[in-house]
């Protein structure tokens, strides 16, 4: 299953990379005379209400999904890892401060929080990254804090301390390598969540701004037409589902390999 996941992720990655070479038209190329067409040999997935080729839009849509998924997790890692370490290793007031911020942010449901931010800031890719990133670091931060609290008390850390090693050295040389595996898993599993949040926001019309194609936005526009022009919502919806499944399967596989303790859990 993990291999299937990796294969799907690779395929999506290739789609995103080679989009201009494997599509017949740019995603925003309109042809008003060819609007509302069903799938055909010429338009594999049909066309939308302004005559844009749906296949091209679906392929280009993978770029947005991957960009959001990866960037959001980069933010998660960049913010969550140092804050988690600071809270776990330094403890005391630092720990208290970080954990209260975490509590405050988790008080809102994830999607509601993102919606609030988007309504306040307006649509757009940058704002989506802010809306998702503001929350995405929390799982990483919590994980790192909990792990470092535990690892600090481990015997190898005690031994290092006994040999006169400073806290910084312990963190860099001993804690970090031991934390790496669970963090990689958490980050990987955060990608589909970010992709889904973006899709949900765009579905509601406050995510990615057109004409940049995003699967969520395409489903949102197509869903109203689904009883007749079924293709408009179907293809991007399938892509969201497949991509999410790919990342989740891949993440699960990574966990099995990297984090033996979690196996079978």
């Amino acid at each position: 299953m993990a291999l299937a996941g990796a294969a799907i992720v690779t395929a999506i990655l290739l789609l995103a990379l080679f989009a201009p070479w494997i599509t017949p038209a740019r995603y925003d190329r309109t042809d008003f005379g060819a609007a509302w067409q069903f799938p055909s040999a010429r338009h594999w997935m049909g066309t939308d209400g302004v005559g844009r080729d749906l296949y091209s839009r679906v392929v280009y849509g993978s770029r947005v999904s991957l960009l959001v998924g990866l960037s959001a997790q980069a933010i998660a890692l960049g913010v969550g890892l140092p804050l988690g370490l600071a809270a776990g290793v330094l403890g005391g007031r630092m720990d208290f401060a970080v954990m209260r911020v975490v509590d405050a942010l988790t008080a809102f449901p994830q999607l509601l929080f993102a919606l609030l931010i988007m309504v306040a800031l307006g649509a757009g890719l940058g704002n989506i990254l802010i809306a998702i990133g503001l929350r995405a670091w929390i799982p990483v931060c919590r994980l790192v804090r909990a792990q470092s609290l535990r690892e600090r008390e481990q015997e190898y850390a005690e031994a290092a301390r006994a040999q006169g090693a400073g806290e910084v050295r312990i963190v860099l040389r001993h804690l970090l390598p031991n934390l790496l595996a669970p963090v990689i898993v958490a980050v990987t599993l955060g990608i589909p969540q970010a992709i889904f949040t973006e899709a949900a926001l765009s579905f509601l019309g406050i995510g990615i701004k057109p004409p940049t194609p995003s699967w969520g936005q395409m489903v949102g526009e197509g869903v109203n037409a689904i009883r007749y022009y079924w293709h408009l919502a179907l293809f991007p919806a399938v892509m969201i589902a497949v991509t999410m499944a790919g990342f989740v399967l891949w993440g699960d596989g990574l966990r099995d390999v990297l984090d033996p303790r979690a196996q079978g859990a």
Partner: protein, 566 residues
């Protein structure tokens, strides 16, 4: 609840008896004799029995039923529970309703309305001219926060009071005696009755006591109209029942109106599934282009559909302040870069007519043909105009978003079509942004949005209804003293030909300046199950469907359910 139904039932039997006695029909008369319902109306011969006189609809939910509190957040059928002075009939002509007759003073500024005798609220309190006076002052009161107060600005002192510059007592409305109401306007306003057809009177004795929430619960929602509120379960449904205390001229055939709450996307499936009797709404999104494609290919659905060109206009409006749109050449370039015909053929699948001016074809004073060539689709000239304005090939043009107000997916697609045309023909990158209704309206009213796509639909059959929007201080920041002068001249002219001449000259300015880029007039479609009958489903004198204002609900009393309903 049971008790009330019991009493209504009893009333029905008693009224039936009375009716039979008056008509000289023996009580053992064969089937087919006129049946009288609980509101005292004789049902037509082909009507289903009173117990089946239920109309089920589905739609959005508002915060109040009360239209003198809010329009934007109101429940969409104020005419069920309120009795305006006058109403618009199926030909959009003014007919007496609460007012039996009225007179106009020789200077055209003072109107005296004489109310029907015996009108009452559903709690038995008389409905008097004081209620009307109270309603107008409540709408004007800035504390009420009424969202389209400018609508009634023709009434003397109304605007000043609404802006807090004068007292409510200075407004030109007086209850002379319980059945006489006098309204004074600043200028002669021949279309005043049209405005008053949207004045949904509220019960003074209740509102003064209960405050704004009065219309949200059956306990306090006292009705002056043909129906009253039986129940309101938030997020689920509202039920109205015939009001036995109603003494006006719109006695209903229906016993109940059930209004389910649901999103637009659920309308068509609910209709197909037989859960609702009609989709009477005519705003975009109630039936999507794909629903319409399906209806057009299905003979049964096609026979249940009613379609007509609607008195609504969509346009692009430009914001105030220091934007690139300050330069009229930029606005002209935008107007000439949009191919309306292609847009209508693709996005709307032909269900719209191109708009060349503000007044929709067939509307009061409309003459769109003369404006078709004013700023036609011409990409080359559009490019030249843009270059003259200092943005050759769109270079250096600031980045703007085209804002849409809670747009349906189709309107969103239309926005993207315009985005594509602007990019293709002018080389300008325009964003498209859909915004929540309240936020959008707040920013629009503060003139903060640089470029928007927005509709206006008619409330009454008079050109003033459209033309007043663009007067200085109206919905959009564009301003022209000549336009204001011409519209005011049209508003107070007493002959129709004179008025139309002024409005057309004003419209010329609007189109040629241009203040707006006019885009399309929608062709709307309604669906009605074959068993729903009534005058409003007949074609009117314009050859279009009688029920032009479904959201007001004022014509629901003329609907009945025929025996065809299984």
């Amino acid at each position: 609840m049971t008790q009330r139904l019991g009493r209504n039932g009893l009333l029905a039997i008693v009224s039936l008896g009375v009716a039979c006695a008056t008509l000289g029909i023996a009580s053992n008369a064969p089937l087919g004799a006129a049946v009288v319902n609980s509101a005292g109306t004789s049902l037509p011969a082909d009507a289903a029995p009173p117990s089946a006189q239920v109309l089920t609809l589905l739609g959005r939910e508002g915060t109040y039923i009360d239209w003198s509190k809010t329009v934007q957040k109101s429940q969409w059928h104020p005419g069920l529970m309120s009795e305006p002075l006058v109403m618009q009939d199926i030909n959009a002509e003014i007919k007496p309703l609460a007012a039996e007759r009225w007179t106009i003073s020789p200077d055209g500024r003072t109107w005296t309305f004489f109310l029907r005798k015996g009108l009452q609220w559903s709690d038995g309190t008389p409905l008097t001219s004081e209620d009307f006076e109270y309603t107008i002052k409540r709408i004007a009161n800035p504390e009420t926060g009424f969202d389209v107060a400018w609508y009634f600005a023709a009434i003397k002192g109304f605007k000043a009071a609404n802006e807090g510059k004068a007292g409510l007592d200075e407004i030109g409305v007086i209850a002379v005696d319980p059945t006489t109401l006098q309204i004074t306007t600043t200028e002669p306003t021949p279309y005043l009755p049209m405005l008053l057809s949207d004045l949904y009177v509220v019960p003074k004795h209740i509102v003064a006591k209960v405050g704004d929430p009065w219309s949200t619960s059956p306990a306090t929602a006292v009705s002056g109209g043909p129906f009253k509120l039986a129940s309101w379960e938030r997020d689920r449904e509202l039920v109205y029942e015939a009001n036995p205390m109603y003494r006006g001229i719109r006695k209903p055939y229906l016993e109940r109106v059930v209004y389910k709450i649901g999103r637009d996307e659920t309308l068509f499936p609910a209709y197909l599934g037989g859960e609702i009797d009609a989709i009477p709404w005519i705003y975009e999104g109630s039936l999507s282009p794909s629903d319409i494609a399906r209806i057009q290919t299905d003979p049964r659905l096609k026979s249940e559909s009613y379609t007509w060109p609607y008195y609504q206009t969509w346009w692009i409006a430009f914001g105030g302040g220091e934007t690139a749109f300050k330069d009229p050449r930029v606005r002209r370039a935008f107007a000439m870069a949009i191919d309306r015909t292609a847009l209508i053929k693709s996005v709307w699948r032909g269900m719209a007519a191109p708009a060349y001016g503000m007044l929709p074809p067939g509307f009061h004073c409309a003459d769109p043909g003369r404006l078709a060539g004013a700023l036609p689709y011409n990409p080359d000239q559009a490019k030249r105009l843009l270059a003259e304005a200092g943005y050759p090939e769109g270079k250096g043009f600031p980045k703007y978003d085209l804002f849409l107000r809670a747009a349906s997916p189709t309107v969103q697609t239309a926005g993207e079509a315009i985005q594509a045309m602007i990019k293709e023909n002018l080389g300008i990158d325009l964003g498209v942004q859909n915004q929540e209704r309240k936020l959008f309206m707040d920013r629009l009213n503060k003139y903060q949005l640089p470029i928007v796509m927005i509709p206006w639909e008619y409330d009454y059959y008079d050109a003033s209804n459209f033309m007043n929007i663009y007067r200085t201080g109206g919905r959009h920041p564009w301003s022209s003293t000549e336009y204001d002068r011409l519209v005011n001249e049209g508003n107070s002219g007493m002959s129709d030909s004179q008025r139309c001449a002024s409005y057309r000259r004003a419209e010329d300015i609007l189109v040629r300046d241009p203040a707006a880029v006019f885009l399309w007039h929608p062709t709307v479609m309604q669906l009605w199950k074959p068993w729903v009958k009534g005058e409003i489903l007949k074609r009117n004198k314009f050859g279009i469907l009688g029920w032009q204002r479904p959201s007001k609900g004022d014509m629901v009393p003329s609907i009945y359910i025929s025996r065809d309903k299984k």
